[in-house]
Amino acid sequence: MIVPYTHVILLAALLFLAGMICTVLRRNLIMLLLGLEIMLNAAAVAFVGAGLHLQQIEGQAAALFILAVAAAEVSVGLALIVCIYRQTGTLDPECIEADACELE
C-alpha cells in the first residue's frame, strides 16, 4: 500500500504549475527551457502514477518516450539558444525580435 492515486496526480500538478510559472514569468531563454523540462518531468510522474493505479505497464512506456523526446528537444533548443546568443548577444526573449532593447 503506497498512497492514494490523487496524491500522485496532485504532486504532478504542482510540479507542472511550477514549470508553467517558470516558463511564463522568467525573461531568460534558458530558464524558459528549464520550465519546459519541469513540465515534461511532471507529465512523466503522472504517467508512472497512472500506470501503477491501473496496473498497466503502458504508463512506464509513455514515461520512457517522454524522456527521449525531452532529450531531443533540449539539445535542439540549447543549440538554437547558443545561436541566438551569438547573433544578438542577449537571452531576453523580448530583445530578440527587433531593436526592442538597444544593446550598447
Partner: protein, 175 residues
Amino acid sequence: MSVYSIFFYLIAAVMILSTALAVTRKNMVHAVLFLVISFLASALLFFLLGAPLPGILEVVIYAGAIMVLFLFVVMMIRIRAPEGSGFLFWHYLGAGGLSAVYVAACLLLIRHAGPGTGAPMAAAVAAPADFGQYLFERHWLGIEIVSLLLLVALIGVFHLGLSRAGQRSGKGGAH
C-alpha cells in the same frame, strides 16, 4: 501509514521545494543544481511507484545528460545585463488568469476522479526485463520513430553549428 507512504511524502516535499527554489533563483547555475536534486528525487519516486527502468533512465538522461548540457551552456554564455523582470500589468494578469484556470481544472478533475482513486494503491514492480520485452513487442514502431527523432535532432544541431562556423569563416575570408 506505511513506510512507503512516509517515503512518498518525503520525496514529494523534496521535489516541490527544490523545484520551487530552482524556478525562483536568479543565478542560473543554482537553478540547474536545484533542478538536479528535483530530478534525482523524481527518480526515487519512480522506484517507489514500481518503475525501476524509467527511474534509472531518469538519473542517467535527465539528471545526468540534460542537466549537464544546461550547465555547459550556462557556463559558456556570460550574461552581461541582469535579467529584467519588468512586466506590464496585463502580462501578470494573463499569467495569473492562466494559472487560475489550470488550478481550477486540476481541482475539478481530482474531485471528480473515478472510483477507487482515493484508496491507497497496491505496490507493484515491473521488472526491467519484462518491461523491455513489452516495449519491444508492443512499441517497436514508437522506438524506431524516437531513434529517428534523435537522429534528426543530431543532424539539426550539427547544421546549426556548421552554418554558424561557415558564416564566420566566410566573414573572415571577406576581410
